[in-house]
Symmetry: C4
Subunit: 238 residues, 4 copies
C-alpha cells in the first residue's frame, strides 16, 4: 500500500542530515542516510543515487521494506538500499540510519577490533560495535549489500547494537531519530580517532557498561544543542 | 546579593572566546567557557545551554558560586556549570575557565598519562596536567560534573595547576584572564598532539620546571599578539 | 601529423581534474593530470608548466608521444611530460594519467611497501601498487622523469597495474577516463591513510583478488556520483 | 648608516610570505619571516611584533644586524629578532629567513632526531637538519633567542645548513630568496610529516646526498610555479 507523503519537516531533516554528514567528513561522495517514513512504519525515505553533499528535498525517494522505490520516477537508486530496508524491518526501535565509509572507523573493521567508548560522548558504544564479515555469508563479493539476503545478514550481525562495522567497506549506525543517528555517526568517527591514539599511549580505561549507559542517556537530552549548530552551518537547503 | 551587570567588554570577550574555541577545534558542539564577573568575585558569566560556536552577547547568563543562574529567564543552562562554580570558589587567582573535549587531550586522560611541556608555548604545563577520575569519588556516573559535590572534587584534583584531565570526558583549563584561558586551552591541544608524535620518535626532552616557568612568564607578555589574530578572524560578534 | 583540436568537453574535464585534485589535497603546487587526445591516440593533453590548482582551458597544451609540445607557443612545459608520453605509448587502454606527490602514498614508496585494497573503494588496487626505483635504472638523479628513457622505465615498472609508486618522489595513477584516473588518485591517497592506520591496530584483512576485482567493476558504474559532487564544488572554470 | 627605503617589491613579497605561511599552517599566531634589505646587506626587514597572518606593508620595520629597529616609531618589535640579525651576519648567502613552530618539525627537535629528505621536494635537507640545544649555551632559559649572544650561538649551530631545529621551541629555515625560504619552511613541515609516517611503515630509503643535491637544484628552477599559486590564493595584501 502506498503511504501518504512524508512530513515536510522529516524530509528537510533528512536533507540536512546528508549535508551535515558531508560537511563534517563522515561521508564523502558516497554513503547515505535514511529515515523511517513518519506516516508508515513499513516505508523509509532515502535520496536517489547521488552524492549526499548535494541532496535537496526533491531528491528524497520513498522505499518499501523490500527495497522497492515507490516514487523514483526512473531515477537511479542506491545499490545498497537493502541496508536500510532490512534494518528497518528487523528493528522497530530504529527511525534513522547512516551508512558511511567514515575514515577512522574503517581500520577497526578490517582488523576486527571493536569500537569501545573512550569518552562520554560515545556512550552509545557501550556494548561495543558489532562486526559484519560478508565473506562468511556470501563468499567473494563486491563487498556491497546489494540484495535483501545480504541486508538480512547485516541486520542480524547488528543485532541490538547501535553500530555495525562492515569489514573492507564501512559501517552502519542506527538511531531513534535522524538527529540521534547523525550524532552517533559523527561521534563514532571521533571515538575511533581517539581510540586509535589512546592505544598508542598506553592501557585505555574505557567507559564501563554502566557509565556508558548513563552517559548515553544524558547525551540524548542534549542532542538539540549540536543539531542547532550543524543546521545553522548548513543554512537554507533550498 | 545580585551583582550589577558585568562590563560589556568582558561579555564581548567571553563571546569571542566561545567562537574562537570553536573555530580552532578546541570545542565542537559541546564544551563551554566562562569568566569571573568583573563586578563581583562571587559570580561568573557563562552562556546558556547551547553550542559555543553560536554564542552571542544576549546568551551570556550570570551565575553564583552555587551554580544558580540569576538571569537565565527560563532558558536552559549547562548541566556542568558546577565545574566553573567550584573552581572559582577554590581558586581566587582564576578569572576564566575553559571546559572542552579537545580531541588530542582525551587520549592522555584515558591512559592516565600527564601532559608535559613539549615546547615553550606550553610552559603553563610546567607541573604537568592534573588528573580527575570520577569513579574514585562517585562510582559509575554519566561522567559529568552535574552537581556541586563533583565540582568540589574536580577543583580539588586541579589543585594549583593550570589544567585537569577528566578521564573519559575531557579537560578543564584555567587562566588569569579570558585571553590566557583561551591561549592555554588552544596550546594544551597543540601540546598533546606534539607529545603524542614526539613519543613515537624517541625519548622526549621536555622543558624542565625552570624553563617552563620562564617560558610561561614570557608568553604572558605576548598574549595580545594571538588574541588580535583570533578576534580579527571572528569579526563582529553581532 | 598535427591532430585537429581536442574536444572542448575533454579540455574542460581536464581543467576540472586539475582543480579537483588540488582542492582535495592530492596535488599541491606540483603534480599534473593529462588526458589522451580524443581525436588522435598518438597525442595527449597536459597543462603548461604551472600549479594544477590554477589551470584554465587556455593553459592546456597538446603533446606527441615523444613529449614534444605542438602548441605551447613558447610557454614552459613540465619537465616530467615523459611520464605521460611513455605510459600512453605503452598502454593503449589508458586514457588519463595523474602524477602526484599525494602525501599518504609517499611513505609506502620510500619503505617499498605495497598499497593494498583496504576497502571496496580501492578495488583498483587489487594487484597492489607497482614500485619504481629510479636508482636501478639511472643511478643518482634529481628523481624526476626528465626524459623518454626514464619514462619508458617507469611505464615498464607500472606494467598492467593501475598505480606505480616512485621511491622518493610520488606516484602515478592511470585510468580509462579522466573521471576514473581522478577517482583512483583520490582513493589511492585515502587507502594509504587507512592502510597506515589499520596496520597500527592489528593484522589487516585486505580485499582478496576476487573481491577487489568485483568491487572495482561495481565502483566504475558509480563514478558519475562523485564526479558530480567534485565538479559542482569547483563551479565554473572560466 | 641608515639605508634608503627597501624596494616596494621586496616589502610586498615579505608581506605575502607572512600571509602564505599562516594560510598553510607553517606559523600560527607566532613565528616570523624576514628578508635581507635589498639596498643594504647590513640590514633586514621584519614585521613589528604581531601575528604573521595579519601583516601589511606598513608593519614592516628595518633592522640592523645588532637587532636595532631603525623605523619602528615606538611600535613593539619581536623579542627574537636576533635569530634574523645573527644569521644574516654569519651567512652572506642568506637573503630570507623563516622562524616557526611548524608542528610536525617540533617532535624531531625534542627527540634530537634529524630531518632527512624523504622525497625530492625536500632536497634542501640533503645534509639533514642542524640541532640547537639552548641549554648547552645558556642553561635554563625561557627558550627564546632574546639577545645577540644566543643569536650567535644559533647561527653557529645552523652552520652551512638550510634548517636548524631548536629543541623545545621550533625551527629556523634560511633561503637565498623569500620564495626559497618560504618553500623550504613549507616543505620542511611536509617532509617531517612524511618522515614520521614512513618510519612507522619500515626502513626508510632517504635521498642520498647526490640525489638530494640534484633534486634541490632542479626544484629551484620551479619555485615560481608554487609561488604563483600561493600568492594568487592570498590575493591583494592591501
Amino acid at each position: 500500500m502506498t503511504p501518504s507523503a512524508a512530513g515536510p519537516a522529516l524530509v528537510e531533516k533528512l536533507v540536512l542530515a546528508n549535508r551535515i554528514l558531508y560537511r563534517h567528513g563522515v561521508v564523502d561522495g558516497f554513503g547515505h542516510a535514511s529515515a523511517r517514513h513518519d506516516g508508515s512504519s513499513g516505508h523509509f525515505l532515502l535520496a536517489r543515487n547521488m552524492a549526499p553533499g548535494l541532496v535537496r528535498r526533491e531528491d528524497i525517494v520513498t522505499f518499501d521494506l523490500d527495497g522497492n522505490a515507490l516514487d523514483a520516477g526512473g531515477r537511479r537508486v542506491y545499490l545498497e538500499r537493502f541496508i536500510h530496508a532490512e534494518i528497518y524491518r528487523a528493528r522497530a526501535d530504529v527511525r534513522a540510519i547512516v551508512h558511511s565509509h567514515s575514515p577512522s572507523v574503517i581500520p577497526f573493521g578490517v582488523t576486527k577490533q571493536r569500537l569501545r567508548p573512550v569518552f562520554h560522548m560515545s556512550g552509545f558504544l557501550a556494548e561495543g560495535s558489532a562486526l559484519f564479515e560478508i565473506r562468511d555469508v556470501a563468499g567473494d563479493t563486491d563487498m556491497l549489500i546489494g540484495n535483501g539476503r545480504l541486508g538480512v545478514a547485516l541486520a542480524a550481525a547488528l543485532g541490538s547494537r547501535s553500530i555495525v562495522l562492515m569489514r573492507g567497506h564501512g559501517s552502519t549506525v542506527v538511531g531513534a531519530s535522524v538527529e540521534q543517528a547523525v550524532y552517533r555517526a559523527f561521534y563514532a568517527e571521533v571515538n575511533a580517532r581517539l581510540q586509535l591514539q589512546a592505544r598508542q599511549l598506553g592501557k585505555v580505561t574505557y567507559l564501563n557498561a554502566r557509565e556508558a549507559a548513563k552517559a548515553a542517556a544524558t547525551n540524548d537530552t542534549q542532542l538539540q544543542r549540536v543539531w542547532d549548530l550543524w543546521t545553522q552551518e548548513i543554512g537554507d537547503v533550498g
